[in-house]
Amino acid sequence: MFHHALRIRQEACIGCSRCMRVCPTEALRVTGGKATLHPGLCVDCGECFNVCPSRAIVVEDDDITQIFNYKHRILLIPAIFFAQFQEKLTLEEINSVLYEIGFTELCTVEQGVDLLVDEINKYIDTFEGSKPVISSFCPAVIRLIQVRFPVFADQILRLLPPLEVTAQYYREDYARHGVPLDDVGIFYVTPCAAKIAAIKAPVGGYVSPINGVINMTQLYNKVFLAYKQKRNDSEHCSLVHSSLSKTGIQWATTGGEASHIRGRSLAIDSMPNVIDFLERLENEEITGVDYLELRACDMSCCGGILVQSNRFLVKERLDQLAKDLPDKHPLDESFRETCSGCIPMDKIEPRAMVKYHSDINIALERMEESRRLRRLLPNIDCGACGAPSCEALADDIVCGRASLDNCLLIHAHEADPATIEQIWGKKRFNK
């Protein structure tokens, strides 16, 4: 089964069904008073995490103390991490706290971007399959395509995102200087759950050299706390490679990729928008697009579930910082000598969900039965049955996972038709 970076803590779940209602792949149900996840459908987008009122949904990250298993402890930090602090802290101050925590080298993730942009443009120019080419940046989108839009699996860019380019650079750089690779630990601070899932259970046949993933919320809190109890003794033990280019710092914001791609490229963010767009693309209502930047979160990574600051402020801060940055970052030449921006990956395999049955004869029977059941159900998607919609309940019933008795509204109508019909009308129950 697929590795997921989101887990429901049963002891904390209050069964309120909020997560179930927002899940874009209808992967959640409430049963026995608790939310349960259908792992085959979950794409790790984190919409459920955002709405959980009891913090019952947690992100499965790596414990920060494991960094001490390595002599060299490299932290790859997305630019967004710095942008959360607004004007309160300077870059030097943040970095000094991170060194105190125990990291020996700090680098920004988007250093690999400058190299990658050229490779993506080359890739699109020579791409012979159907367009648009779809960005490989957002792992939740890749998983969504595998599950809900398998027809586009072939169109996903088969180059790895900047994080992997940068990770590869540092690994090569240490190797080049004669450091045994067992001593080198590469860690990544993630703004979301999907990136964890992507590193732990990669698609496209590439095994990441990243040794661990640190939760951005936790690290933010640590830095903030340490800064408050400030002790100003920042002796750095290694070089700081935190420099970035304009292109790099804005890469993870909406339009950050699309604006650097030649040809007609579009940027779409947030799960409902991405789904709507892919449906239109599938219907061939939208044509003539060369490249699609698709991001699961609203405001892209600025709206990541582990980002602490308001997403609009994070975006503003990144844009401001970009003004003072060079077009190419100072390490670009070194990157070009040390590593390749072109890390190819295999074709991404679709894993389309089997909704009714893999045998089309049985699937058709069940679909027809489900349609018949939907005429009995009130079609108000109240969620009181523990499924996100009347349609989902009907499907669950025909697949033997629920029964018509789950519909509380039918019971209520039988008990007191007048009251229920006063609210929902007569027709709803006599279709």
Binding site: E284, I360, L364
Partner: protein, 124 residues
Amino acid sequence: MAGTASSQVKRALKQLGVDASVIKRVVVALYEAEVNIVAHAYKGIITADIDPERVFLRLVDEGPGIEDIEKAMTPGFSTASQEVREMGFGAGMGLPNISRNADVLNIHSIPGKGTTLEITILIK
């Protein structure tokens, strides 16, 4: 609205796990046929019948009908005005596109009354 029927049929076929290339042909053929009804006819009824072997689409409209079916099947032949063409429609590819995607296509038309299209696309 043109596109509604093709979206619904697409959704059902996806749920049934029908091969993506087959779904694409159904969607393209049905969408073109829907656009024809919206663009030319006064009213139309679309039915889709799915069984394990094939998708059968029947589109019955009340409208102007097609004067010369053979001509209408010629790629590039169009009755659309310059204005409509500038909007990106009426390129004369509607029926040719449907025919290219269908395994069997039957057209019956009575000028002044309406047109019936029967499209069969095999699932396997």
